[in-house]
Each structure stands twice: as structure tokens, then as C-alpha cells.
């Protein structure tokens, strides 16, 4: 279980770095946070898992998309 999540997290992190499209990179970083929160839950840290799921994968991704939208509007 943990091995599977670990492979997924690392694959998503590499996608986030290497992909040329910014929106895919931002979503991949959000998925890294989401699976990290599952990992926290497996490591008996429910408090940390709740915070990471709400802030790391929800709100951070949202503000990234606000900035991306703004840049897209300037460019075209």
C-alpha cells in the first residue's frame, strides 16, 4: 500500500517538474499533496493529514490557478 502510494507520489512529482504545460504541473503538485496526506494517515497522523488535504491540495492549487488565469489574460 505505502509502496504503491510512494511510486505514485514520485511519478507525479516528476511530471510536475518535467511537463511543459503549467496547468498540468500545478495539478500534479496538488496530487502529490493529496497522496502525501494519505501517507500521513498511514503513519498515524490524522491531524496532519486533514491539514494537508485541505490546504496543500485544495487552497494552494486554487491560488495557483488564479495566477495562471491572470497570466493567460495578459498574454492573449
Amino acid at each position: 500500500m505505502a509502496l504503491f502510494i510512494g511510486v505514485l507520489v514520485l511519478a507525479m512529482a516528476i511530471i510536475a517538474i518535467l511537463n511543459k504545460k503549467l496547468s498540468i504541473a500545478v495539478i500534479a503538485a496538488g496530487v502529490v499533496s493529496l497522496f502525501a496526506s494519505v501517507l500521513y494517515l498511514l503513519m498515524a497522523a490524522p491531524d496532519v493529514a486533514m491539514t494537508e488535504a485541505a490546504i496543500g491540495s485544495g487552497l494552494s492549487t486554487l491560488i495557483f490557478f488564479y495566477v495562471l488565469n491572470k497570466i493567460k489574460r495578459y498574454n492573449g
Binding site: G6, A13, A29, A36, L39, A44, E52, I55, I71
Partner: protein, 126 residues
């Protein structure tokens, strides 16, 4: 079998996440990609701290009937280390604040030069 314990696996995951985050920060040219790499580095460091506090076969640090009347009859043998969890809890919220601040800077820089390529910002270079 010893290498497939949860503690060791999460330690390796966190090390690799930190290395991937550093690689992204050093190699990317787009400011938004650098900030994305920064969030990955942040996640890696948090996973590292929590995995150092993990003890095999124990439950979350919440004292209820299942802990105090469990097979061990002792809190000390039933819960994982609570201190790293308390530290990471605040670190995640701070990480959100820092990410938001970096994005605000990035927006300001974009307004000034209409580009996000880091090589274009060479005003202080000599």
C-alpha cells in the same frame, strides 16, 4: 522484509521528494515552475519530519478507550510520537502562506516585465 516497513518507505519517499524539489528549483527557468518545485520540496520535508516520529504498530496520539484499555495497558506503548506531528501542523499552514506570498511576487514581476522567464530579470546582473 525489513526494507518494506512503512517507516523506511516513507523515509525514502521523502528523501526523493526533497531531491526532486531541489532539482526543479535549480533547473527550471519559469518562475511558476520554480514555485511548484518549492511546494514539492515543502511536502517532502513535512513527510520526512512525520516519518521520523512514526513508530511501528502504534496508533494516533489520541487517548481514548482503545488506547488506555488496549492489550498494552500503557499509553507509552500504544501511541506514536506526537511532537513532530504538532510541528508539521504549523509548518503546513506557514507553507501555504509562503506559497501565496511567492505567487504575489510572481504576479508583480509579471506585471513589470510581461514575462516569467527567470533569465529576463537581469537588472542587477553585472
Amino acid at each position: 522484509m525489513e526494507y518494506l516497513q512503512l517507516g523506511r518507505i516513507s523515509l525514502i519517499i521523502s528523501f526523493l521528494l526533497i531531491i526532486i524539489g531541489f532539482w526543479g528549483i535549480l533547473s527550471q527557468k519559469n518562475i511558476i515552475k520554480i514555485i511548484v518545485s518549492f511546494t514539492i520540496l515543502d511536502t517532502g520535508i513535512n513527510v520526512l519530519i512525520v516519518s521520523l516520529g512514526y513508530l511501528k504498530g502504534r496508533t494516533a496520539p489520541i487517548i481514548d478507550a482503545s488506547v488506555s484499555q488496549g492489550p498494552n495497558h500503557n499509553v507509552l506503548n500504544a501511541i506514536v510520537d506526537p511532537v513532530p506531528q504538532a510541528l508539521v501542523l504549523t509548518a503546513i499552514v506557514i507553507g501555504f502562506g509562503v506559497t501565496a506570498l511567492l505567487l504575489a511576487y510572481a504576479m508583480k514581476l509579471f506585471k513589470a516585465k510581461r514575462t516569467l522567464e527567470i533569465n529576463q530579470f537581469n537588472d542587477l546582473k553585472w
